[in-house]
């Protein structure tokens, strides 16, 4: 499985394919199917994960991007800047170009790099016949830097001289519910006293009557610091670039082929039609998706005219990170003496690095979710994204939801400690209810499942406490420091939420086509979708949806081969499964309506009102039914084909139309999760061993339960990494990147106990709101947001549990053994 299957005409050998004479080359879109042999037409059972792909993975036959290669390809290498801010004054690559085996060296000006904006910026690339030659060539490149004083402390960005024409402050958000609350209290009083004169007097916002007699309140103030997340992919980022006549074909992991294609076209100065991007399978953990690497490989392929392989681990690590926290949060929680939350005030500064635009979404999400899933009358959130000379902020695992959850839950525990009650009590007392407002003023549509989630987590069994006698079950494990008498167990419960359709969301679109036909083995459904299968089982989800709608066991999913077919907009991670799933579902329903037209006529009902339940076709009221086999046999006689298109859109705001999901104005669709983490800590050494994380999720609809469990587990693992992995960024210059990251090993990862996901929240929509918008089905939520919210919740729970076990209120994440926090 070494040659890309999407290159049917690609020659094994030195010779490159002829430039495409005709327009037959499908360079219009990134449409090649990656692993067509891995489709599973056979029905799957159980958790819906299937058998073929797992077997290929376990035996090492599943093709990742790094497994691609052809004889005659060149290897890329990359030099990253050792300075955070500098000007390149001179650059000599003649010695490097003279080395035998070196085919291309691009450095400094040739690469379009004159000014260094951040530590680790790509300053030179080379292509050679051997990866070691490529690195040797780069060692021979002499670059003269004129370093300047960099701005690395985000707190200095406000007062420092601007380092960019756009200024140092890239974004500022300020949300407050105070105005809203004042207006509401006026409204409420108006209702009570409809007299115009008194109402007029009430126009001046006044404190509510209760607060005139101020109850004794407690304020809890803490500052939290988050290091840059040490989230590493299981496999390195790999780009395989093949020059293709005028164009370049790029095989790499990509979450958004269209965006990346646009960026590549801009970097290469070529029309987009000449760039062909083939998505490769996903490798776990962080997205190994490096724009520098893609551009380097594409440039070198275009320059040398030969296939280029660029692997992140051998191409060049970041020379150094920065010890500065990437986010600083200052939170104030004010509670009554009985534990009722009165006010939450949050200020935060996010270090966006040299390209701060990407961090705005992080800030937005934080601000919307700042208070956590709790009822707070007054929330005030203010945040900034600043520009510094630090490396651009990588996508934060779990997003702003994770930051918000860790801070909010830590504050809830601090509040409980200040009041001398349990953290659970404070949480339950202030639980968010349906109709409560988020900091941006939107009302939460459904929060009814929160108590159920909390109860489910509390009901799950706790691992027995004294671990051992095996020393590996103690904190410190094979370091043999474990001592039963100096062990304390900590338990942390965390609630978190995630915003499904943020208000500013531009329209996202997905389309699909479903065909129902038959062959000698019976009916078979063909699905065309633009959804990329990256090894995460995305297509298994679509198969499941079609099976459910049509009752057909054999479903083939493929990406379209014709350019321009099935348009789809870039989808933010987390909504891909939902949108594509809905598009496929609508197409499948269209097909069903066509295929069942005869039965519908017989029943004298509209074909849209027929459903497939088990092996029967049933009318909507369940009164009339026919065996499905008979119906299909009649409908599919003579190789009949039924074909239907499906389309689904989602928008953050605007008028509601059929086929477009728009949340009602001022409403927020939110998914919830509750986790309980149990950790054991060595109280003297501060060493921590996570024991178990119990996860209760509201998953919307769990179509492929196995995938949901896996996504939650992955979220918990990345959370354990974020909370406990000790990244030593300052050492990156001299040591390997992964050796610096010190990710948790199998000895210090928790068990993950995934409780059966609740499937309620979106079900509420089904009856009223969705029907009005022309849907009759619940939204099949993808598993990606499940993974994101799992990360957010587990990170908060693990941090709370660690604080509980250590007895100190640690405020910097990751929690390290050698740091200490204020005593409780």
């Amino acid at each position: 499985m070494n040659t890309p299957t999407s290159l049917p005409g690609f020659l094994i050998g030195e010779q490159l394919p002829e430039p495409p004479g005709s327009a037959a080359q499908p360079v219009e879109t990134e449409l090649a199917e990656y692993g067509p042999n891995l489709n599973e037409p056979s029905p799957v059972s159980g958790d819906g994960i299937g058998k073929v792909v797992p077997a290929a993975k376990a035996t090492g036959r599943y093709p990742y991007a790094s497994d691609l290669g052809v004889p005659g390809m060149l290897w890329a290498a990359m030099t990253r800047s050792p300075h955070a801010r500098a000007t390149i004054v001179g650059c000599d690559s003649s010695a490097a170009k003279a080395l035998p085996g070196v085919h291309a060296v691009l450095a400094g000006e040739e690469l379009g790099v004159g000014e260094i904006d951040y530590l680790g910026q790509c300053v030179a690339i080379a292509a050679a016949e051997h990866p070691a030659i490529a690195r040797a060539a780069l060692n021979a490149v002499v670059i003269d830097y004129q370093p300047e004083e960099p701005l690395t402390d985000p707190r200095q960005a406000f007062n420092a001289a601007p380092i960019h024409s756009d200024g140092n402050i890239a974004a500022h958000r300020f949300f407050t519910t105070a105005r809203e609350a004042a207006r509401e209290s006026v409204e409420a009083l108006r209702k009570k006293a409809p007299s115009t004169r008194r109402a007029a007097a009430l126009h001046v916002p006044r404190p509510e009557p209760e607060s005139e007699v101020p109850a004794k309140t407690v304020s809890v103030i803490h500052g939290y610091e988050f290091a840059r997340p040490a989230d590493w992919p299981a496999g390195p980022g790999t780009v395989f670039a093949v020059p293709h006549g005028d164009g370049v074909e790029i095989h790499t992991l990509t979450v958004d082929p269209r965006r990346d294609r646009r960026a590549l076209a801009a970097a290469l100065g070529r029309p987009e039609s000449q760039i062909r991007l083939v998505p490769a399978p996903f490798t776990g953990g962080a997205i190994a998706d490096d724009a520098d690497l893609r551009v380097a490989a594409a440039l070198l392929a275009a320059r040398t005219g030969r296939p280029i392989k660029a692997v992140d681990s051998s191409v060049g690590h970041w020379p150094a990170g920065t010890a500065e926290p990437a986010a600083r949060v200052h939170a104030i929680h004010v509670v009554d003496s009985d534990g009722t939350l009165r006010e939450v005030r949050v200020e935060l500064v996010i270090d966006g690095g040299a390209e701060p635009a990407a961090a705005e979404a992080l800030l937005d999400e934080y601000c919307r979710l700042a208070a956590g899933p709790y009822r707070v009358p007054k929330v005030q959130v203010q945040g900034w994204v600043v520009r510094t000379h630090n490396p651009p902020l990588a996508p934060w695992p779990g997003g702003g939801a994770a930051l918000a959850a860790v801070v909010a839950e830590a504050q809830m525990d601090a509040v409980a400690a200040a009041l001398g009650v349990s953290g659970l009590e404070v949480r339950v007392k202030n639980l968010m209810r349906t109709g409560d407002r988020l900091p941006d003023g939107r009302k939460v549509v459904a929060a009814d499942m929160l108590p159920e989630l909390v109860t489910a987590v509390l009901d799950a069994p706790v691992p027995p406490f004294p671990p051992g006698p095996d020393v590996r079950e103690f904190p410190g494990t094979v370091g043999r420091t474990g001592e039963m008498t100096r062990l304390r167990r900590g338990v942390g419960i965390a609630l978190a939420m995630i915003d499904l359709v943020p208000p500013g969301l531009p329209e996202e679109l997905a389309t699909a086509q479903v065909a129902l036909t038959s062959d000698v083995h019976g009916p078979i459904a063909h699905v065309s979708t633009a959804m990329v299968e990256t090894g995460g089982g995305q297509h298994a989800l679509l198969r499941k949806i079609v099976r459910e709608v049509l009752g057909v066991q054999r479903v083939l999913v493929r990406r379209p081969t014709a350019p321009g077919a099935l348009p789809a907009t870039p989808l933010a991670s987390g909504r891909a499964a939902w949108l594509h799933g809905m598009a496929v579902q609508r197409a499948a329903r269209g097909v069903r309506a066509q295929a069942l037209a005869a039965v519908a006529a017989e029943f004298a009902v509209s074909p849209e009102l027929l459903e497939v339940r088990g092996d029967r076709v049933v009318s909507y009221d369940g009164m009339l039914s026919r065996p499905l086999d008979d119906v299909y046999r009649a409908a599919l006689r003579g190789a009949a084909v039924y074909l239907a298109d499906g389309e689904f859109r989602v928008r953050g705001s605007g008028p509601a139309q059929p086929g477009v999901f728009v949340p009602e104005k001022g409403q927020a669709h939110v998914a919830f999760a509750v986790h309980r983490a149990v950790v054991d800590a060595d109280t003297e050494l501060g060493l921590i061993r996570p024991v178990r994380v119990t996860a209760a999720h509201d998953a919307g609809r769990a179509l492929v339960p196995g995938r949901i469990e896996a996504a939650i587990a992955a979220g918990v693992i990345s959370a354990a990494t974020a909370v406990f992995a000790d990244e030593a960024p300052a050492a990156r210059a001299t040591a390997g990147a992964l050796a610096c990251a010190q990710l948790p090993t199998a000895l210090d990862l928790p068990e993950v106990d995934v409780l059966p996901p609740l499937q309620s929240s979106i079900g509420d929509l089904e009856t009223t709101a969705l029907r009005r918008r022309g849907f009759s089905a619940p939204l099949p939520l993808g598993y990606q947001p499940v993974g994101r919210i799992a990360h957010a919740t587990a990170a908060a729970a693990l941090a709370c549990a660690a604080r509980d076990a250590l007895g100190t209120h640690r405020t910097s994440i990751p929690i390290r053994a050698w740091e200490s926090g204020p005593k409780r």
């Binding site: 159980g46 290498a77 690590h317 051992g468 370091g479 043999r480 060493l687 992995a725 030593a728 040591a735």
Partner: protein
């Protein structure tokens, strides 16, 4: 080509004996010596080192293996960490086996060698190593090991500490090969402890080794991880030797434990001129290392020379823990559940009757049902 044959124009040498290895080193002074390759290849893979030649010494029988006599154990320098974890070594030098286990994951231990562990990292006069290491050195120092080196001039035996210069860098003579380590076998209690950056095999922050020799009535201890080379803390050992009742190997005064620990921690106070052990742990504050060294020293001493009645108390703790576990078993049995809780997230083979109720979780109250740990041992008995 015969299996295993290598044609390399002299770039790669496979000496079959120490003599041949020395000849190869003399012939190719620029060649890189490779036994396990775990350090060399990390450098080569990252493009720091371009070896002009390789001398592979992993197949020299003289260098690999452990030989025992009545008085001492001789450890070949190319013995791998997994070899050191063998039961025969574990029985005689338990601390060494414990240290070998904490060096790395199994895939690394099968290659990483004893000599490589001692001689990796900082060179004499060189820069600080990227990652700290030399966990085995801590143990060998505490065990009074003697390093056997061979060069064309002949054999040389030095205390293992003398392999290092004052700055903690490796200080072998040019053309010299570390062939073996001779470790006296005392048979007394010994132990190794490591505080790392994570639970599994990790970079050391502090390593501590302690060995008590009941016949010679001495205690030796050493501490590593905070500087490039481990150091012996002899004054603490000598002080301790005066406070041990050597007739039965017990410590009469419980205050001895914290005092000994304090001595160890204060030994760390002397600022090491050698600098940090490695870049990746340089940010860890000295206070924590001192604290960790103190804790490790106390715990290691309690394990090696327990206070009177301590073993009984540990047994009591373990009995209680066992009781809790057994009670959980009984409770599960009473409720008709299988003895082992199902592995979360994994479908279990169905063993229960179809009629039995599904695995209901224990109620929330079960948290409080966990019995209180027995009260701590009497202050007099526990340091």
């Amino acid at each position: 080509m015969a299996p295993g044959a290598v044609t390399a124009d002299g770039a790669v040498a496979f000496p079959g004996s120490v003599r041949e290895a020395l000849d190869a080193m003399a012939a190719r002074p620029d060649a890189t010596l490779v036994a396990g390759g775990t350090e060399v290849m990390a450098l080569v893979n990252s493009g720091v080192l371009y070896p002009a030649g390789l001398i592979a010494i992993d197949r020299i029988d003289e260098l690999r293996g452990v030989w025992f006599t009545d008085q001492e154990a001789v450890l070949g320098a190319a013995t791998t960490c997994s070899d050191l974890m063998h039961n025969d070594v574990r029985g005689v030098l338990p601390a060494l086996a414990q240290a070998a286990r904490s060096v790395g994951a199994p895939g690394l231990r099968s290659r990483a060698t004893l000599g490589g562990n001692l001689l990796s990292g900082k060179r004499s006069g060189g820069a600080t190593a990227p990652t700290p290491g030399r966990d085995l050195l801590t143990v060998l120092m505490a065990l009074n090991a003697v390093a056997v080196c061979c060069s064309p001039e002949g054999w040389r035996q030095v205390q293992v500490a003398e392999l290092y210069a004052r700055d903690g860098g490796v200080d072998l003579r040019p053309g010299e090969l570390l062939t073996a380590l001779r470790v006296p076998v005392s048979g007394g209690p010994q132990g190794f402890m490591k505080v790392g950056t994570r639970g599994g095999a990790s970079r050391p922050l502090v390593t501590f080794a302690l060995a008590a020799d009941l016949t010679n009535r001495s205690v030796t201890c050493s501490i590593g991880g905070f500087s490039p080379a481990a150091v012996r803390v002899d004054h603490a050992g000598q002080w301790l030797a005066e406070h041990v009742d050597w007739n039965d190997g017990s410590i009469p005064d419980p205050q001895t434990y914290p005092r000994f620990a304090k001595l160890i921690a204060e030994g760390l106070m002397v600022p090491g001129s050698a600098g940090a052990a490695g870049w990746t742990t340089a940010a860890v504050p000295e206070e924590y290392r001192q604290h960790a060294a103190e804790i490790c020293a106390r715990r290691a001493l309690v394990r090696a020379l327990p206070p009177a009645g301590w073993l009984e108390q540990v047994a009591e703790y373990q009995k209680r823990a066992e009781f809790v576990r057994n009670r959980a078993l009984v409770e599960r049995a009473e409720r008709g559940l299988p003895p082992q809780p199902p592995v979360p997230g994994v479908p279990q083979p169905r063993t229960a009757e179809p009629g039995t109720p599904p695995t209901a979780g224990t109620s929330a109250a079960s948290v409080s049902k966990i019995p209180k740990m027995p009260s701590r041992p009497k202050p007099g008995a526990r340091p």
